[in-house]
């Protein structure tokens, strides 16, 4: 085959597939944004008119705001716990050589490759049996635990990349200058790992904020945004949902951009 024809073909394939992929990824997102501005009650095209009516309705809807609040609380606590556990695990998994290292890596990362719905069910069984023995019900706390189990491995992987690129000589240098263990962490290790820790925290937050499966199984009667919408779709779609989606997308994209900036600097 002629080299020039071949190069042209490769270009068409690569540019074409990238463009197609980006369009594909953004089809449902832009569809939701478009529908959020429609005026009528029914989610069908053509629109009856454009308005911001449903955004107004959203901010007057107590269940929707309550779901948003629950999502945020769960995500904040889960982020803090998952990032801390994940960061420590990442240092252990990359930096140290010890007996049972492979087992540690496998155990700490296993939930990554476990379907979330099944993880939710396995944990639901666990908490139900424990709950019967010790007298508690599933609710916001069990949901948070479920989120941490699932998200800590993600945080570990993200921070691990940062640990991998970090020269341990810097820590030794600080130690040689007389810094104690805690000082080394505070002034050397954590600042150097910070971009990784920070982006891990952002991804943890978003994973937890938008998590459906674990919340669905573990939150008892507490509703978060994803379960609120899921339970609504079962009854029939409401014009509120696209507006909720548009509101949820804004902090999402901003946080992803922020995480990316931080990581580039690191």
């Amino acid at each position: 085959m002629n080299h020039r024809v071949e190069a042209r073909l490769a270009d068409v394939l690569l540019y074409g597939s990238m463009a197609a992929a980006l369009i594909f990824f953004y089809v449902p997102i832009f569809t939701l944004i478009a529908f959020s501005f429609q005026e009528g009650r029914y989610l069908t095209l053509p629109f009856e008119g454009f308005s911001l009516k449903w955004y107004g309705e959203l901010f007057r809807s107590a269940p929707a705001l309550n779901a948003l609040w629950n999502s945020t609380i769960i995500a904040l606590v889960a982020t803090l716990a998952a990032t801390t556990i994940g960061t420590m695990a990442a240092i252990v998994a990359v930096r140290y050589r010890f007996i049972g290292k492979r087992a540690f890596q496998g155990l700490s990362g296993a939930p990554l490759a476990f379907p979330q719905l099944l993880l939710g069910i396995v944990l639901l069984l666990w908490f139900s049996v424990l709950g019967r023995w010790f007298g508690f019900n599933t609710g916001i706390v069990t949901a948070i635990i479920g989120h941490v189990v699932y998200i800590a491995p993600f945080a570990m992987v993200i921070v691990a990349v940062q640990v991998y690129n970090f020269d341990p000589v810097l820590e030794d240098a600080a130690r040689d200058c007389g810094a104690g263990t805690w000082d080394v962490y505070r002034y050397v290790t954590i600042p150097i790992l910070w971009p990784g820790i920070f982006s891990a925290a952002i991804f943890s937050f978003l994973l937890s904020w938008g998590n459906f499966y674990l919340t669905y199984s573990l939150a008892g009667s507490t509703r978060t945004i994803p379960t609120f919408i899921f339970s609504g779709i079962a009854i029939g779609s409401s014009p509120l949902y696209p507006a909720i989606a548009a509101v949820v997308f804004v902090p999402g994209i901003l946080l992803v951009i922020l995480a990316n900036r931080m990581r580039q600097r690191g």
Partner: protein, 288 residues
């Protein structure tokens, strides 16, 4: 970078940092899995769990082909999803790693955002797009297609579309990482030796990004057998997959042992298939 430091478990440096993760995953991952296994030998009566220790649940599972048909359908959908994802991800990941260096970060940000936002919302967005009076048909009729050209919502095709949509980023990122790690000079050497672009791609790049393809396939397969939102929302719940069956045994039938057993069967069969493929791929490598 080789900066591994040998530590013993008695060293607090290691112990303190490893403990939270080990504790979390043993008490909230391994122990629940064990409990799930134990529960399969119990029974539920009057919505209450009875500790009976018998094999009633397992005999039920092995005597009813219904469960296995659904399992087969689930595995088929997951494998179809893996194939579609890998085929689509290869040119995307390759382009991202080699051609679009200038916009690499922007593209990665866009894909990450699409990947990480609320799956329920995105799936619902697809419903709005594919609906009879949704976005796709509106746009198509605008350029002259007959009304209701797109009519595959609430079929297996829509389920597959949703699965590919939600899982494709895993393939893109794993393959991207492996291509990014390939030593450029190997490809240049292939060119020097007179290989055409496609030949170099076929004989150098593709074999070298096998680990990425493999990792992506395993992840997508394992996550794909557990999908629930896509068949329920996009597939209309018409041809149930394992995850939905499992949910139902808990919700409507309140049969915990059966649900626990079905969960284990699904995971064991899925892991077994992964091991089988690993074995076959390993044998092929040994033969050549």
């Amino acid at each position: 970078m080789d900066g591994e430091i040998t530590r013993s478990w008695r060293d607090p440096e290691l112990f303190v940092k490893a403990l939270p993760s080990v504790l979390l995953q043993t008490t909230c991952f391994l122990a629940p899995l064990l409990m799930t296994f134990i529960l399969t030998f119990q029974r539920t009566r009057d919505f209450q769990l009875r500790w009976t220790w018998d094999l009633a649940t397992w005999t039920e599972i092995f005597s009813k082909p219904h469960y296995w048909t659904i399992l087969g359908h689930t595995l088929f959908m997951a494998i179809a999803c893996v194939i579609v994802c890998i085929v689509l991800a290869l040119p995307i990941a390759y382009g991202l790693a080699t051609r679009f260096k200038a916009y690499e970060n922007e593209i990665k940000t866009l894909i990450t955002f699409a990947f990480i936002t609320d799956a329920t919302l995105k799936t619902f967005g697809w419903v709005l797009f594919l609906d009879k009076k949704g976005g796709a048909n509106f746009l198509l009729s605008y350029i002259g297609f007959p009304p209701e050209t797109v009519a595959f919502l609430f079929t297996d095709w829509a389920t597959l579309l949703g699965m590919v949509y939600n899982l494709l980023p895993f393939a893109i990122f794993t393959i991207y990482l492996s291509i990014d790690n390939i030593d450029r000079s190997l490809i240049l050497a292939a060119y020097d030796a007179g290989a055409s672009k496609f030949r170099a791609h076929w004989e150098v790049t593709l074999p070298l990004c096998k680990p990425g393809i493999w990792a992506g396939s395993v992840l997508i397969f394992l996550l794909g057998v557990g999908v629930f939102l896509e068949p329920k929302v996009l597939g209309g719940g018409k041809s149930p997959m394992s995850a939905e069956l499992i949910r139902q045994t808990f919700e409507t039938r309140v049969n915990w042992p059966l649900g626990a057993a079905l969960t284990l069967v699904l995971m064991i069969v899925a892991v077994f298939i992964v091991l089988l493929f690993t074995r076959v791929a390993g044998m092929k490598r040994a033969a050549t």
